[in-house]
């Protein structure tokens, strides 16, 4: 695969580090059972142990969504870079943000062949 300089496959960028952290955080929080195996503070009668984990359902959802958005951003950056590199001028605008836009960036080789 001909990677664009800088943002190629496997390169560690700050963006990708953040994506990784978003995905790892729930594991740290949930597997560290000692941090939440207690009764207080109680919330509307529900012990901490239960409402804290339920809260983490929401937090992890938000984190996964963030990772999803950032991943899109990352793919777009890579697509732009690879377009510059190959001087291909495929239209990039309108469809951005819709699902269809992710296929081209994910596969620069296929794009160049068209």
């Amino acid at each position: 695969m001909s990677d664009a300089p800088g943002v190629g496959r496997g390169a560690v960028t700050p963006l990708r580090v953040v994506i990784g952290l978003c995905l790892v955080a729930p594991f740290v929080a949930m597997l560290w059972v000692g941090s939440y195996a207690k009764t207080d503070p109680v919330f509307i009668g529900i012990p901490f142990f239960y409402w804290y984990q339920m809260l983490w359902v929401l937090i992890s959802t938000a984190l996964t969504m963030t990772a999803y958005k950032l991943w899109h951003l990352d793919q777009r950056g890579r697509a732009a870079a690879s377009r510059d590199a190959s001087a291909a001028s495929a239209a990039s605008s309108g469809a951005l943000g819709t699902p269809a836009s992710s296929d081209a960036p994910a596969n620069p080789k296929g794009g160049a062949a068209e």
Binding site: M30, V33, P47, P99, G110
Partner: protein, 536 residues
């Protein structure tokens, strides 16, 4: 338990059941494609499902009737330790976010229908692929049987299913009818049937949970009282508790992690995943599926409410249906029972399809009839889906329920052992195929032996899924220990086999197969979104 048949509840239950049956048969005509005699059509719904259908399908598939009955039942019996289902389902989604899109892509490029298809293509090893297929089928069968146990629990509480002295045929007749109907529409409609029924199932479940979580605590005097009486019960019993004891924290964490790793190794999870129409649908779903986890958490709390209501049943699985019957007016109890009953049908259908696909693709086609046409494949798959269900039925009717539960427990341990081959294979070709096979074998044997050795107050063997973790001195999930062992063996053997220059097999996949999306060369165009009669 009240005596006699609860007529109103039964009437509502039958109403929903008939409605769902009609939907199941009509589903065959939904989004029908030209080439209906292919496994892609029957077994994967034409690989055409969008975000919302996939969401309902996966939700209907992963959160089964057994889950609805068993998770609160575990809380009812032991308290906090049963709540591990929540962190488990929290961890699943960030995890699958990383590998499921890759599996989708490579499967679309190469027309893979099962995980074993992928393993064979990636490692060029029919043996490894067979191991994965057999593990999948073995793990799925008892799971289907447990769906029946879920329906049985509901029928029992409604008063059908007869007393001790009715003959077995009358007693099991309702279950036989339910399964006969399920088998018929799965046969004719394939994956489209559960996909449509899942809408009904989830709508019912969400309504029931929303009502239950507000209405029942009010009737029982609030969560303070509920947790206080639960605390009393556990203190008196000298076992369990509202918060896990220090000794139980490793168990809690390893169960959550091990189960999360295992969930998407199950064939039925993968079937639902591969039926989606694009890579995006998968990623987007990992961000919206956690809604179900919230529901599961609320549902789990019902276990405490059953304690506070003073329900005393020997079979913990009846606790929640009994709570509904005690708390709700009859008609709404009927809705709740219908939710659980239909909740059993959706996964049972998908599981039987998934097991049938595995058999057809990775045993029948690979070993018995290599030149089978797509039409033949579909026919074999349809028949096997029937056999699988009959097998599950026989299982439940002839053997003690604990046998099905034991096997399901083992199934979870076993299926986790396919993780290195599947997920490892999605990211690297470094592992040697024979090493993966060796690791799998070691994990399977260790897991089975260790689970066999666990005794509980009521059972001499298979008394639980946790045991000492060798070398750490804590109690942990056997499946996870076996998995670690599996990985260690795989890595060591890979070094050895590579040094010995053992043949590696042919990899038919290429690097960019793993990132391809719908519309790319070699991947089928995204189908036009929905034809007549669909919502999305």
């Amino acid at each position: 338990m009240k005596d006699g048949v609860n007529g109103v509840a039964l009437g509502v239950f039958i109403f929903f059941f008939v409605a769902v049956t009609a939907i199941g048969f009509l589903a065959a005509r939904w989004r029908k494609a030209e080439n209906e005699h292919s496994l892609d059509e029957w077994g994967l719904g034409g690989r055409s499902f969008g975000t919302w259908i996939t969401w309902f399908l996966l939700g209907g598939d992963l959160y089964t009737a057994y889950t609805f009955v068993a998770v609160p039942a575990a809380i009812y019996a032991a308290g906090a330790s049963g709540f591990f289902a929540v962190p488990y389902t929290i961890l699943v989604y960030p995890l699958v976010f990383t590998f499921l899109p890759r599996l989708w892509s490579v499967s679309h490029r190469h027309g893979y229908v099962t995980t074993s298809d992928f393993v064979r293509g990636r490692f060029g090893s029919k043996g490894l692929s067979l191991a994965v297929a057999v593990t999948g089928i073995l793990a799925t069968m008892p799971y289907i049987a447990l769906q029946l146990v879920g329906i049985q629990a509901v029928l029992d509480v409604m008063g059908v299913g007869g007393g001790e002295n009715t003959n077995w045929f009358v007693k099991d007749l309702p279950l036989l009818i339910a399964f006969g109907v399920l088998a018929a529409y799965t046969y004719s409609s394939g994956l489209r049937a559960p996909a449509l029924i899942a809408f009904v199932k989830d709508a019912l479940i969400y309504i029931v949970i929303a009502v239950a979580i507000i209405y029942i605590p009010i009737k029982l005097g609030g969560f303070d009282d509920i947790f206080a009486s639960a605390g009393e019960k556990f203190a008196k019993a000298g076992a369990g508790g509202v918060v896990p004891a220090a000794g139980g924290q490793w168990t809690y964490a390893t169960l959550a992690l091990g189960s999360a790793l295992a969930l998407f190794m199950y064939p039925h999870s993968i079937t639902a995943t591969l039926s989606s129409r694009s890579r995006e649908v998968i990623r987007r779903n990992t961000t919206i599926l956690p809604l179900y986890s919230l529901m599961l958490g609320l549902l789990a709390l019902l276990g405490f409410m059953a304690i506070a209501d003073g329900i005393s049943v020997k079979n913990g699985q009846l606790a929640i249906p009994q709570l509904f019957e005690n708390m709700f007016p009859d008609w709404f109890a009927g809705v709740a029972f219908a939710a659980i009953g239909i909740g059993a049908l959706v996964p049972a259908a998908i599981m039987s399809i998934a097991a049938a696909n595995l058999f057809t693709r990775n045993i029948y086609k690979d070993f018995i009839k290599p030149d089978a046409t797509p039409k033949e494949e579909t026919r074999v798959s349809k028949i096997v889906s029937l056999l699988v269900k009959v097998g599950a039925l026989v299982f439940v009717l002839t053997m003690d329920k604990t046998v099905a539960i034991n096997f399901q427990l083992l199934g979870g341990i076993w299926i986790l052992q396919t993780f290195p081959a599947l997920v490892g294979g999605l990211f690297t070709r470094w592992f040697h195929r024979w090493a993966l096979l060796g690791g799998w074998a070691v994990g399977m044997v260790y897991g089975t032996v260790a689970a066999y050795g666990v005794a509980s107050p009521t059972q001499k063997h298979f008394g639980g899924s946790s045991d000492d973790i060798p070398g750490i001195g804590e109690i942990g999930y056997i499946g996870l220990t076996a998995f670690v062992l599996n990985v260690v063996v795989t890595v060591v053997l890979t070094f050895v086999l590579r040094a010995a220059k053992a043949p590696e097999g042919i990899d038919e996949t290429a690097a960019d197969d793993y990132t391809a999306d719908a519309g790319d060369p070699g991947v089928e165009q995204e189908l036009p979104a929905a034809t007549a009669g669909t919502t999305h």
